[in-house]
């Protein structure tokens, strides 16, 4: 009789442990996915600022058509990207194009003094900071999910529930990382 009760208690406890582990994994998984989607929020905000920027620069530096076109095209590509890989690639290209645009703008003192331009530059810089923060937050959420998934005893049944694999961190593409660590970007005045 006593053994039956003990076994029943153990089974109930086990059920609660497994339930708890499953619910935790579900919640952390959602958090990680949400943080990934939140990066898109920042990307969209940056995208929306760009037409203004292009128009302002056009007003002063109309013959920098090449650079301006590059930015517009990169923006369109970023807006149209669907898969994660496309998004990352488009985002990289846009960052590069924006960088070139600001470098070019250095040669136009009137443009540099224009308050619209300065404000847009400040806002873009702010969004880049927010993007970095969103990515770090995403990494945090992924690390938390991975850690909880791999901890004992959750790791024993994680596979059963469809949480068998780790999530990847926000990572820079291998060639990009090589390029970035190789040499600092040159700033010419």
């Amino acid at each position: 009789m006593i053994t039956l009760i003990v076994i029943a208690v153990i089974v109930v406890v086990l059920i609660f442990v497994v339930m708890g582990a499953y619910n935790k994994l579900v919640a952390l998984d959602q958090k990680a996915d949400q943080s990934f989607a939140d990066i898109d929020v920042q990307l969209k905000q940056r995208n929306d600022l760009i037409p203004n920027l292009v128009e302002t620069v056009k007003g002063y530096a109309a013959h920098e058509q090449g650079t301006l076109n590059a930015v517009t095209q990169a923006r369109a590509a970023a807006a149209g990207a669907t898969t994660v890989d496309q998004k990352v690639q488009a985002d990289n290209m846009l960052t590069g194009a924006l960088g070139r645009l600001f470098a070019v703008a250095e040669a136009y003192p009137d443009l540099k003094a224009n308050t619209n331009f300065l404000e847009l530059q400040r806002e873009l810089s702010d969004i880049e900071n927010k993007l970095a923060a969103a990515r770090r937050f995403f990494n945090n959420a992924v690390a938390e999910f991975n850690a909880v998934r791999a901890q004992f005893p959750t790791v024993l049944f994680a596979g059963m529930f469809g949480f068998g694999t780790e999530k990847p961190f926000f990572a820079v593409d291998a060639t990009d990382r090589a390029a970035m660590t190789a040499a600092p970007p040159s700033v010419k005045f």
Partner: protein, 337 residues
Amino acid sequence: MAAVGLQTHIWANNTRSILLLAGFPVMLVGVIFGIQLILMGFGFLPSSGGTLEQDIAYAGTMLAGTIPLAVVVALIWFAIAWFGNQAIMDGLTGARKVARKDSPELYNLLENLAISRGLKTPTLRIIDSDSLNAFASGLREGQYSVTVTRGLMDALDRDEMEAVLAHELTHVINKDVRTMVIASIFAGIISVIAQLVVRGMFYVRPGGRNKNAGPLILIGFAVAAVGYALAIVIRLMLSRTREFVADAGSVELTRNPDAMISALRKVSGRSKLEAPDDVQGMFLDNERMGFTDALFATHPPIEKRIAALIRFAGGRDPGPWEGETLGGPGTSVPVSG
């Protein structure tokens, strides 16, 4: 299970909060039990007529009768204290209300945060003080409010201010003000009962001494004293877990742990503000100088809060802030105007 990230840190602290809150009824029962022992020792309650153990066991069975009575008394007390608290809180909200056009940037920060959580924007208020502090108040929907000091607005940059507003908004979302008022009412009930009995002990003339009087009274006194002390400690521990959760909630809302850390660095040591106890518990920071810090502080030390943010939220610490603020300790919270 140890916390490994932001969510698990929040869950751990919420679990701690629930356990602490559950401790209050236990303390109440303990204090009542202790009082019964004392009354039994003085002969005001019938005893079992046997040994000390039998008397204590008898007091245990008496609980079946006293607990329902205590519950009824506590509920009535709660109701009275709750509405009393409302009135005090309303009186406190004499800090200046801020409309969107008075401080558009600040108002927009708060509104954006509220929108991102699907909340009605709490009222924004400003206190004209040079101290760097902020608090959340309000017990009910429609009464929620976030107050900041002028000193805070001057010293913090946009991201840091957003982090502070997000911290206070998290208090509002989690209904922490309500939780702390409940805790403080409980602590009040326990404290008053314990004190009444202890004082009563000196004035009373025992009727019909119980033969186990001495030990009974001593044990009863010890139990009541421990219950009283623990009630205070529990209330403060509860307040500290809520602060950790609010810091974490700020990072959840803003995605920016660095801003929260640097805001805490700026506020540290510059947050002195006069206000009633309950409101002080809701400050951004409430430093207590002196020996009684660790156990009697309503807030965890800044270093611990920053360490938690670094460990669970991936923040980075810029180190102590060397900036200057104007003036000395803050002025009192105005009652009207």
